[in-house]
């Protein structure tokens, strides 16, 4: 089988991570921010898989499973928060939510 240069896999992960970061920085809709966070987590998992494939170890896949668990828990809590915020403020604009006082 032909080989893939490892940096191409890592560059793909880096590009996806930066695109997710760009989404987090620019979007004002809180649901889009959460989706961009998912893209970033996924890019981190891709980097782990590339590294585990390079050395032929299964450890990277175990770390990917941990990231998957983290993403699932994070999305559940985040979406619950979004529903609660929408119920109280009737908006998904994070600039309005920045005026919250604790």
């Amino acid at each position: 089988m032909q080989s893939i240069p490892i940096e191409h896999g890592l560059i793909l992960a880096g590009i996806l991570f930066v695109l997710g970061l760009l989404g987090v920085m620019t979007r004002r809709n809180i649901v889009f921010v959460l989706m961009s966070l998912e893209v970033m987590l996924n890019a981190g998992g891709l980097a782990f898989i590339v590294a585990s494939s390079r050395w032929g170890h299964a450890d990277g896949q175990v770390m990917f499973l941990m990231i998957l668990t983290l993403a699932a828990a994070e999305v559940a809590v985040g979406l619950g928060l979004i529903i609660q915020v929408y119920r109280r403020f009737h908006t998904v604009d994070i600039n309005v939510l920045s005026q919250m006082k604790g």
Binding site: L21, L22, R28, N29, V31, V77
Partner: protein
């Protein structure tokens, strides 16, 4: 197989760009699912078949259905799409894009020093699960506690 890696990578990048540029939230979600499936194909090419299956089932299946469910509950509609369009002018994009480009350039600079070749070798489910229930058993327990905490807090937060 090598060609498949580059095609899937290109699909992933293009659909992720569509996610962050899209103003219709449901379309953005569909593009995100496409991006995750493309990444699953990349995993398969790299020999991580178990991770590829999990990516398709858990990420593109379960988590995205959760997103879709919440979008349906919020019922944002046409008004939010217009609002979204008014928020995303060129002015908003300039500074974050420049900063993200600098970050990416640094990353590429570091990565260009490596010259390893990667020969995709299949890592079986057996090896992964032997690790999961061997040295990583504490991490699995912690992950289950994390999921339980997520379940309880999501129930509490979404309650009326």
């Amino acid at each position: 197989m090598i060609l498949l890696f580059y095609i899937a990578g290109a699909v992933a990048i293009i659909s992720t760009v569509c996610v962050i540029l899209q103003s219709n939230i449901t379309h953005a979600l569909i593009y995100l699912i496409l991006s995750l499936l493309a990444v699953a194909v990349v995993f398969y090419v790299l020999g991580a078949t178990f991770a590829a299956v999990l990516e398709a089932i858990v990420y593109a299946g379960a988590i995205m259905v959760l997103f879709l469910f919440v979008i349906m509950m919020l019922n944002l509609g046409k008004r939010s799409e217009d609002q979204e369009r008014s928020w995303s002018g060129v002015k908003v994009w300039v500074a974050p894009s420049v900063m993200a480009a600098i970050l990416l350039a640094q990353l590429l600079n570091v990565l260009s020093q490596y010259e390893y070749d990667l020969i995709p070798k299949e890592v079986s489910v057996l090896e992964v699960s032997a690790l999961l229930f061997g040295p990583y058993v504490l991490a699995v327990e912690l992950a289950s506690i994390l999921l339980l905490a997520g379940l309880v807090s999501a129930y509490h937060l979404a309650k009326k």
